[in-house]
């Protein structure tokens, strides 16, 4: 390409790069900032002095986390929940996506089922009946409860179904000629082809379970069974927001004594790490999974 770029074009290119880099920085700042807070002196943090580099550099926050069994217990609960939740979801969804990807001629009732799923996603009896149901199932303070309580993740199911739908039909015909039944087709031919969408759904499920605080909050009867995000929500967010207007002077005093911003930041930072470790490696898959599973131009 021997095109000579015009001056305007060059200016645009430079501007473009700078602008996009600033945007990128904007997305990375929270991680960085949190780390800086965690590494700074508590007093400097409370004075709002810390910005992009630590002030009063120390590892005290991370050291004192080591002696915090509550925090580690909540991490463990989150890990258990994520593993169990993802395992169950992946198995159930990949079995369901195949029949649902059929046309309504091939599988009568398919459309009705699809609408049932969508209906169930939108309508619910509200928090209290859900809570009552979970309690009746004996799923308070239970990892299994946390893994299942959200119900079928419909969005992921649709994503998978659409992905299967987009595979060439000849595949199945060929398999049938070879004498493969639906089960063998599903597990030995279809599933390997679903790798991108499986990876995508796996990532979404992992992240969803890791990030949930609400279910963890409602379904725990004691602090010992909080998953990590609920623990952080209660410790940092809820306390801070409430202090803004509702607290009595006495409560505020107590709060300011126990609040430790840099310690909290260290916990928040640790909570971000697993996400950081996972998604970049899955990026290749989820880009493909989303594109093929949802909208196509």
């Amino acid at each position: 390409m021997a095109f000579k770029k015009s001056l305007g074009s060059k200016v645009f290119d430079s501007f473009n790069i700078v602008f996009l880099l600033v945007l990128t920085l904007l997305c990375l700042i929270p991680m960085w900032y949190t780390l800086m807070i965690a590494l700074s002196d508590k007093a400097a943090v409370q004075a709002g002095m810390v910005t992009i580099y630590p002030i009063g550099f120390n590892f005290y926050s991370f050291q004192s986390i080591l002696g915090d069994p509550k925090f580690f217990r909540s991490i463990l609960i989150s890990f258990e929940r994520v593993i169990m939740g993802a395992g169950i979801t992946m198995l159930i969804l990949s079995m369901a996506a195949y029949p649902l990807s059929k046309t309504s001629k091939q599988f009568p009732g398919r459309n009705a089922l699809m609408w049932l799923f969508v209906f169930a996603m939108l309508f619910n009896g509200g928090l209290i009946p859900w809570f009552l149901t979970m309690r009746t199932y004996n799923m308070m303070d239970s990892i299994l409860g946390l893994a299942l309580c959200g119900g079928v993740p419909i969005f992921n199911l649709i994503l998978m179904t659409n992905f299967v739908k987009n595979l060439p039909e000849e595949l199945e015909e060929a398999a049938k000629i070879d004498g493969a039944g639906p089960w063998r087709f599903l597990f030995s031919i279809l599933l390997p082809l679903l790798k991108p969408v499986l990876a995508t759904v796996l990532l979404f499920t992992l992240v969803n379970h890791w990030n949930d605080f609400f279910q963890g909050m409602i379904l725990s009867t004691r602090e010992e069974s909080y998953p990590l995000q609920t623990y952080i929500q209660q410790l940092v967010v809820s306390t801070n927001l409430q202090s803004m207007s509702q607290m009595s002077v006495e409560q505020l005093n107590r709060l300011s004594k126990m609040n430790n911003d840099s310690l909290n930041a260290a916990k928040v930072f640790i909570a971000m790490i697993p996400v950081l470790l996972i998604y970049p490696f899955m990026q290749r898959y989820f880009v493909k999974g989303i594109t093929l599973g949802s909208v196509k131009g």
Binding site: N16, G48, C149, M244, V268, V287
Partner: protein, 320 residues
Amino acid sequence: MATATSTIATQPSTKQVIRKSNFDRRNKSDLKHFWIMLSPALVWLVLFQIVPMFGIVMAFQDFNPGAGFFKSEFIGLENFKYMFELRDVRQVLVNTLVIALGKITLNLFVPLIFALMLNEMKQVRLVKFIQTSVYLPHFLSWVILSSIMLQIFGYNGPVNAFVMDLGKEPFSIFQQADLFRGFVISSDVWKNFGFNSIIYLAALAGIDVTLYEAAEIDGATRWGKLWHITLPSIQTTIALLAILSLGSILDAGFDQVYNMYNPLVYSTGDIIDTYVFRAGLQQLDFSFGTAVGLLKSIVSFVLITTGYWVAKKTVGYRIF
């Protein structure tokens, strides 16, 4: 693609016809297996989503937890009438619509602009790096992000320290009712623009390169190419995304607002979901909360159904 399909369609061979009938027969016996494959999902659906739906009756009752669902008094549409009389509900509806529409619009166009800009960048490794970085906030929870924002924009944060240095009164964005909605919308756009650009980037990558080459020979400028080739090529994608977002018009984002709001910003920040949560739990007004929630479900369902048909009729796209 279209031509390929039609060629296949115009050449039905006898072989295929036989195979097809064979296939249909086989398919009948497959049905049983299909239902078996679906059953775990259905059990899950019934136990965790359908069963709790019995709670919807609360919306038509004056629910008394001591008496339970079977003995509480039925009051017909009383809760719904009351809802329309309450000024609060109107305020909450306005808040929800403003926040949701703001998010929908910006989440449609900001990622588009970002994708277009990124598309102009030729440094492959840098592009990869930028992509990976901007996806990050999408994967972090609102609990994490709010705790960070409370730190940055709260009273102890650097923003307030800066404002006070200027000699102004202490400032925390979480206490400014007039700024709160804008803050909710923009932080959401910030969180998701990278991730939302994925579909655009894929659509952009799918544009036929020969179109650009031809235009370049004709002496088209970069702007010209953008207007005459790029945008027209992805307009269906944009339209489709817009239609699909219809369903979330009453979804202003519970997790986000719940983790950012407080009584000082209720006037602008309280949305349907948070209102329902508080009415149903903190004020112990169970029936009323359920009624508001039910109304939201109905509206969303209508909108999603509409979106489904519009997408099917206009672009021939089936969402599922």
